[in-house]
């Protein structure tokens, strides 16, 4: 069977790991999972930030780092590489912003702007 090497997922016939009968018993044991590892779960929840916020923070951090690196030696390779990193992250940030703007609009509108001739998108003016 083929395997999608990129994600390492096996897209062959899905194997059911959990049989229906087993599922009924699961809730009994896992009713209060937080009681077993409360601290771990809380830490996990707080790390999840929005991707856009992440990139903006990275941009800010990289600018600070670049200024520090260049304060020592403005011509060195490290300084240049630091500013290059700023540029790369700024580009990524602006792409993320564009994606977010595009994704926020109505999916039907989006589809119809690309394919106005399909049945769903036909408009009848008269």
């Amino acid at each position: 069977m083929t395997t999608v090497a990129a994600t390492g997922l096996n897209v062959a016939t899905p194997r059911a790991f959990v049989r229906p009968a087993a599922r009924l018993s699961a809730p009994v044991r896992l009713n209060y999972p937080w009681k077993f590892s409360s601290m771990k779960r809380m830490v996990k929840l707080s790390v999840k930030a929005t991707p856009e916020g992440e990139i903006s923070e990275k941009v800010e951090k990289s600018i600070q780092e670049a200024k520090e690196t260049c304060a020592d030696d403005p011509v060195s390779g490290e300084c240049v590489a630091a500013w290059d990193e700023v540029e790369e992250l700024s580009a990524a940030a602006s792409h993320a912003r564009d994606k977010k703007k595009a994704g926020g609009s109505d999916p039907l509108e989006e589809y119809c702007s690309d394919n106005p001739e399909t049945d769903e998108c036909r408009t009848y003016d008269n």
Binding site: A6, T7, V59, C70, D84, A96
Partner: protein
């Protein structure tokens, strides 16, 4: 994904044209062991496999490559999207006819590696040109490849993704024409040359919304990258078949806003399957202001220029547009006077520009020339395919 049909050896005895409805054609030959004979055989196997047309697009980051890509894929129809079900941070775009590969995926050093060595992404030392050449060659011959992914968010090299050979492969990035072997694989190449003032204005527009950025930091970033850019990226423009040069306008004296642009489309003469756009008559020099009695334009108006020229010791034709479009009828008027646009119907350029009226540059020469180059690429593709179709495939078993 292997769909194999096993043909018996009898079928392969004579010249046989193998056709298949699948988009990727792969022919496997299995030959039984035969006793040695004295006769020498010539076995020529030519596959009528799908020929991939490879286009290269070079530009610095933040210079409108993604806009160009969207316009280009739109000319062929359909929207280009990242591969479904794969890495969400993949840089690849796939549509029906085209696949766009970002050359950043061939970085040999990730962000930390580059910081340690003190190299920028512009430096050839940070890129694996051997792998780039291998994979582009494979895709061009119709073989699927496992292409690495460079994650721009984390700065790391992610697990590779499978890329199927498309009808049109576009490689966009900083170094499509840097390596000579890759350059020879390209059927057409484009370079986006943005002048320093315009680059500064565009980057300000892009980055001022970001917290942490200031005018100084943007300026410092551009200045720091300039030496590497001039040394490694800029020289690629001499190899390009078409250069889109973006300069500040000459219509407004002392303009430093960068809103109105002067865009030049420099087209190399003598490129196979590529006939340059011209105004009035090929090879002549003409300066044209369309605004007048038939067309009223608002300030600063539009000015066109067409002339033959010499660019890095090559014969070129240059079409230049200064100013911006305010109304639809300006666009259609201009389109009706340009020749050799490779449109399929009257008004196609205008239609494409209107379709993407929200893209940056839709009201000036950048959008116009990007659209025209897209139509030229479509024309080139169709000519190439027509040429390849007239040469029938033969499989001769000795």
């Amino acid at each position: 994904m292997a769909v194999s049909t096993i043909y018996s050896t009898q079928a392969l005895n004579s010249t046989h044209f193998l056709t298949s409805s699948s988009s990727s054609k792969q022919v496997f030959f299995y030959r039984r062991h035969q006793p040695q004979t004295n006769r020498s055989f010539n076995t020529t196997i030519t596959c009528a496999a799908q020929q991939t047309v490879v286009i290269g697009l070079a530009a610095d980051s933040g210079c409108g490559k993604s806009t160009f890509m969207r316009r280009l894929t739109s000319v062929f129809g359909g929207a280009a999207e990242p591969p479904k079900g794969g890495n969400p941070d993949s840089n690849t775009l796939i549509s029906d006819m085209t696949t766009v590969i970002c050359l950043d995926d061939y970085h040999s050093l990730d962000r930390t590696g580059r910081k340690e060595k003190g190299v920028t992404a512009l430096d050839p030392r940070a890129n694996d040109f051997d792998l780039m050449y291998e994979q582009v060659k494979a895709l061009k011959s119709g073989i699927a490849v496992e292409k690495p992914i460079y994650n721009h968010v984390t700065g790391l090299l992610d697990a590779p993704e499978l890329i199927q050979p498309p009808k049109i492969l576009v490689i966009e990035g900083l170094h499509p024409m840097f390596d000579e072997r890759v350059r020879d694989l390209l059927d057409f190449s484009i370079y986006l040359d943005i002048s320093n003032e315009v680059k500064f204005a565009w980057k300000i527009q892009r980055d001022m919304a970001e917290r942490g950025h200031s005018l100084e930091s943007i300026k410092a970033s551009i200045e720091a990258r300039k030496p590497d850019f001039d040394a490694f990226i800029d020289p690629q423009k001499q190899y390009a078949d078409a250069v889109i040069e973006v300069l500040p306008t000459q219509l407004i004296p002392d303009d430093n806003e960068g809103k109105v642009l002067r865009v030049r489309l420099i087209m190399k003469e003598g490129v196979q399957y590529f006939s340059p756009v011209y105004l009035f008559d090929e090879g002549s020099t003409i300066s044209w202001i369309p605004c007048g009695r038939k067309l009223t334009c608002s300030y600063p108006g539009i000015k066109f220029n067409y002339s033959p020229d010499s660019y890095f010791d090559h014969e070129v034709s240059v079409v230049e547009m200064d100013g911006q479009f305010d109304r639809l009828d300006e666009l259609i008027y201009v389109e009706s006077h340009l020749s050799n646009l490779s449109t399929k119907f009257y008004g196609e350029v205008t239609q494409q520009m209107l379709k993407h009226a929200d893209f940056p540059g839709s009201n000036n020469g950048t959008g116009l020339f990007q659209t025209i180059v897209g139509l030229k690429i479509r024309d080139l593709y169709e000519q190439l395919i027509a040429n390849k179709a007239t040469a029938p495939a033969e499989t001769a078993k000795a």
